[in-house]
Symmetry: C2
Subunit: 241 residues, 2 copies
């Protein structure tokens, strides 16, 4: 059973404004929900059409029908469960190791993939400019496959953050140095730009080291790599050495 | 103007069966359409709400309204143009250089991203198992951003292809050798597996070199990389050396 008030609350959480106001977000699908249950995210409700969740206190689990799930799901093809979690407070974080910073990455799938990459490569902190897509957007939560619980994600003024940091700042540009030939440090900030416009001019001024992923195609027509695949290659290069 | 018969034809092309029967596919959005116009793909129709296409013969261009575009578009938020192209015949291809082979990659966005990566890294041939998603699926065409015209893509029996090839066959497995420490050749076949199941057991038997992308996260919970980001890292490693 899902009450009218719950339907109203849960569908409102598809919008950033209400997520912020309620400090709640939704996660869908058995895999993502289970990963978040195993983390220290606090569960509010869990709606399920199928599975037993043995470790979850019974007052939070609600059996629902497929048609009820359809009413609350953000997905075109709803899964078998949907959970509402409380947003955690960002953890304390230190300026050491590698930090990834996003300059207005807007696509939820890209942000989700990037969070998964941070988790894989042991990047503890992901700094997102305020215009970047919200990590609690249902499509982002979906694409992270649970990694969202293991990366500390901070939103803020990217220019201020770079200005105040003493770490070297890396940015990808067509005219940058070949990343395969650079000596890459263990500490630094790597800035990745917006899907359409790349790194913005005001942030570009704060980049101390311009790097590039060489292109190997015969024709010089390939315009660019997708931001998530470029992030994969860059994090791999920083970590492999 | 778009006629009833055109609407019927174009919407039918959202299904693989009709694409195959008609040997036609659709592309949407100014960027993708323009890239395909500049390639040697043969145009059948071009419908547009806005742009002028000066280089296209007038009898193929049809001005349409937003509501007409909505009727023929495969997108939730239609762009400003939609084109119908004829499928090219696969080019002749030789077994040299690096070949990427996909073992049942099912997600259109992943295939599109992988085609873009092939274009970037100069991989001339992409071999797809018959169960892989169709490259002329509108979502794949969209995600390739035009790269589809620059990579030769072949569908066929992957096991047979690997059996008949004399090239070394690389596959990614958890227990594979650290890719950062391997001497990687200039010629070979790299097999990437299905999103959920990885490389299938029958294909695994034909892999001669097992490789792995090391994981750096502190917690051993990160399950896997997305197939497109794993492909990005692997192609980068093969090409950087």
């Amino acid at each position: 059973m899902v009450s009218k008030n719950q339907i109203k609350l849960i569908t409102s959480l598809q919008q950033k404004k209400y997520r912020k106001q309620e400090q709640l977000f939704i996660a869908e699908g058995i895999k993502v929900v289970q990963e978040l249950l195993f983390s220290n995210f606090e569960l509010l409700y869990l709606f399920t059409t199928k599975q037993d969740f043995l470790d979850v206190s019974k007052d939070k689990v609600h059996a629902i029908t497929d048609s009820e799930l359809k009413k609350i799901s953000a997905l075109a093809n709803p899964n078998t469960c949907l959970a509402v979690f409380k947003m955690p407070n960002p953890k304390e974080w230190n300026e050491n190791g590698l930090i990834l910073a996003l300059d207005d990455v807007r696509d939820p799938g890209n942000l989700g993939t990037i969070i998964r990459l941070c988790d894989w490569f042991g990047i503890e902190t992901l700094f997102c400019s305020e215009e970047s897509v919200d990590i609690y957007n249902p499509k982002v939560v979906q694409a992270t496959m649970g990694s969202i619980s293991r990366v500390n994600i901070v939103y803020g003024d990217l220019e201020l953050f770079l200005k105040e940091s003493s770490l070297p700042v890396f940015g990808t540009f067509m005219d940058g140095n070949n990343i395969y030939q650079e000596k890459l440090p263990k500490e630094g900030i790597i800035v990745m730009g917006n899907e359409a416009n790349g790194i913005s001019p005001s942030v570009e001024k704060l980049v101390s080291q311009r790097i590039a992923i060489p292109r190997f195609g015969n024709l010089q027509l390939t315009e660019s790599l997708n931001v998530a695949t470029a992030t994969a290659i860059i994090l791999s290069e920083f970590k492999r050495s």
